[in-house]
Symmetry: C2
Subunit: 465 residues, 2 copies
């Protein structure tokens, strides 16, 4: 099989996934089991995801900080449910500076505990609230069956941690992150249509009172959790003694939230948009939005001028002047990498004052006059973004079925079923035996339920990554 050809998705989706990540030079396994090397193409995507999300995190009033990688083991013991959730996944440092440590250090699986401890010192009065923190960091959770981006022992993420005076304020924050930060990035920037809903008790984050989630559907019909936002109520504040003096001089527990999105979402971009030719990147997160290929040496100057013009219009454009290499090989490489627009200029095109424009989202090549081309690219990028999202949405709709009983749940895609009709937790347990989980609960109108709502809930069921 040629170096450029991928196993078709329909033949073996997991194999396709592995191959596309390797051949697009996105990532590879690190030397220590479960770790990942994110290559420049993959990291370039992450940088763009990161900057679009960071802007919204800041626009909603949060500030970034940085907390230590190493956490004393005793810290994790403070919140029993929390440590229970993470114990089997921890990496432990026992030696440092050539000596055995008196107390082993845990490599952070999340910074929840160390931030909780800091908040207990930083928060004294209602004036210190709300405290709205975010961190971009690497975390470690031991992974026995690693898969690049989806499950790796070390991954990159952002973790938000906030403290508020009241339950209502914490709840407002939890939903603000869901709706004003995560949704616009995942659904908008990444173009992956996501369901927003509440997790069932069984799927809730350890220690949270309520967990909200954003769930995407991959092309193989499996769901992928792309972000979560938790209202911890007073649970964490009690474990870490995060207290404040209110306006009346009364000492009260704060209400905290936490929320995270990781490099996992890159896996979602691959599996929600990619096709048998490779990645298809939404323009907003494509490190190169338009590549200009000189077919032969004579076209290099014209290509360079076009690239300069595109860059001056704010397009991330790249020149490919490797005319000593096979044109076909180069074109296929950009298809694999998912570059949204490929512009080819050969000697004959040059004579005609034209270039050939190839979109990655739909089939077909189009000749465009060189004088108009640069101006056409920015709106075309917008169109590609819309098309990719529309295609993913259509696919999800085709793969979503209403069913009346759990016996009818069989095969890929989302199943919509009444939470009562499925027998609630009992049905959930039965489904889990068959590897299906309730991805989220929504209201009858498809809206995000309040923490209290118990009636008229609809469950979305699927197999998941």
């Amino acid at each position: 099989m040629s170096k450029d050809v991928l196993t078709p998705q329909a033949t073996d989706f997991p194999k396709w996934y592995q191959e596309v990540i390797a051949k697009a030079e996105m990532a590879e396994n690190g030397p220590a089991r479960g770790t990942m090397i994110i290559r420049p193409w993959g990291y370039g995507i992450w940088e763009l995801v990161q900057s679009s999300m960071d802007a919204l995190i800041k626009a909603t009033g949060h500030v970034n900080a940085y907390f230590p990688l190493f956490i004393p083991n005793s810290f994790l013991q403070k919140e029993a449910k929390h440590v229970g959730g993470f114990a089997p996944e921890l990496a432990v440092v026992t030696h440092g500076g050539g000596e055995k440590l008196a107390e082993p250090l845990v490599v952070r699986p999340t910074s929840e505990t160390v931030i909780g401890d800091a908040m207990s010192r930083w928060i004294q009065s209602y004036r210190d609230l709300p405290m709205l923190l975010n961190q971009w960091a690497n975390v470690v959770r031991w992974e026995l069956r690693p898969r690049l981006f989806l499950r790796t022992t070390e991954f990159l993420w952002q973790e938000g941690h906030t403290a508020h005076a009241t339950w209502d304020e914490a709840q407002e924050e939890t939903l603000r992150i869901l709706n004003e930060v995560y949704f616009p990035v995942l659904d908008g920037v990444l173009g992956v249509p996501v369901l927003r809903g509440r997790k069932t008790e069984a799927e809730r984050f350890a220690g949270a009172v309520v967990t909200y989630t954003l769930e995407g559907l991959m092309r193989d019909g499996k769901a992928l959790q792309m972000g979560t936002s938790h209202n911890m109520g007073e649970n964490f504040a009690k474990a870490f003694e995060i207290m404040y003096l209110d306006r009346d001089g009364e000492r009260r527990f704060a209400h905290t939230t936490s929320w995270g999105v990781s490099t996992r979402v890159i896996g979602a971009v691959v599996m929600a948009h990619g096709d048998d030719k490779g990645l298809r990147l939404p323009p907003a997160i494509a490190p190169v939005q338009a590549v200009v290929l000189a077919v032969k040496e004579e076209a290099i100057d014209a290509c360079r001028r076009l690239v300069d013009e595109l860059v001056s219009r704010g397009v991330r454009a790249k020149l490919d002047d490797r005319t000593d290499q096979s044109f076909g090989r180069r074109a296929v490489d950009y298809e694999l990498k998912g570059v949204p627009i490929r512009i080819e200029i050969g000697p004959r095109d040059l004579a005609d004052g034209k270039a050939v424009v190839v979109r990655r989202d739909v089939e077909g090549k189009q000749p465009v006059s060189l004088s108009e081309l640069a101006g056409r690219v920015p709106p075309l990028l917008d169109e590609i973004a819309t098309t990719l999202r529309d295609q993913a949405l259509e696919r999800r709709e085709q793969m979503t079925r209403d069913v009346a009983a759990i016996d009818a749940i069989d095969g890929p895609g989302f199943y919509r079923i009444g939470w009562d009709a499925m027998g609630r937790e009992d049905g959930e347990a039965k489904l889990r035996e068959r590897a299906y989980t309730v991805r989220c609960l929504v209201t009858e109108n498809g809206e995000v339920p309040s923490p209290e709502q118990d009636d008229g809930l609809i469950a979305y069921v699927a197999k998941a990554y």
Copy 2:
């Protein structure tokens, strides 16, 4: 002593340093020994340092990637000099996922080895060169005498690693980083005048053929190494078998470089610019460049309009409308934090159509008409940047002396002495006994010496952090 008052620098500089970092809410010790919590004010500074440096790293053709935190112990053994340099500083993970590991994992002290290994796979032919990689990451080096920002067990940095076909190209890269990336950021953006020079053999990075350095002078007369750039020649390529086929089909070793700048430079900003009232931040790295203080409630609306106008002019401006808190306490807080411009508006100012402008770099308050104020701020920020750098430069010049023999070296500041006159390595060894080190070698004209230059060198000697 009041919460706001700092120990004067002249009384106890290390104590001043500790206090200013705590009171400006920049950072504090983490719960595990030697680790650091970078609070939002400190992290905001780092984000600005990072983005200005990242822009230049990319402008010079480098791409970012991400390599794993954990490195198999065997990797570090591959380069004997390298492991020798790091062995006593390593943190070792012996347990993961609840079990003892077959091979312990080292927490990266640098990613040199894992990147070297990746390059040996990614580089096959001359077409793959140069390979210009950079990484933003946390690294760990066990620290027995930690000091916030200056020496912490975990720190944040960027590490660049590049591979080239020839020695000359690697040397050009090593100097490009020194002169086109690090110098403009450290000397320009951070406003800390830095000497550029070559390290002596004794001070060279383990495994490097030549190490270049940028050295700043702190207000207590001690030097601080702010960045280094190393040409490793073929040393690392040989240890990691980084080889390529040249145009003639000959297999050759690549020539590699590495270079790094860390959160340490924040310590340099504190110690090069700070005074007895607190930090003094160069505007380019100030998370808040201008704070607008409403003295009384009546002024809040006018203050808010001014902040909006400043923001629309690209100024990072912040409103302080906490009129229920002491005005003096608030003003002192912004002095501590080093905000470059403080604008105060009280009811009487409002009636006069004026505001009071207080610069952090020089003494004195100035009334400015409200209608002109927003337009005056951007040039004033430029002026402050220049003044801070000029002040630091003047201070360095006052603290730099020419001496003819090492016996004359005694006290704070830089000493310039002929490398021959000081007896080269012999003199260096004698100075080290008295805690002085050769910070760098320059040519007679103060220029950066080539790797080969051996005659007519001048040594800059100082005590250092």
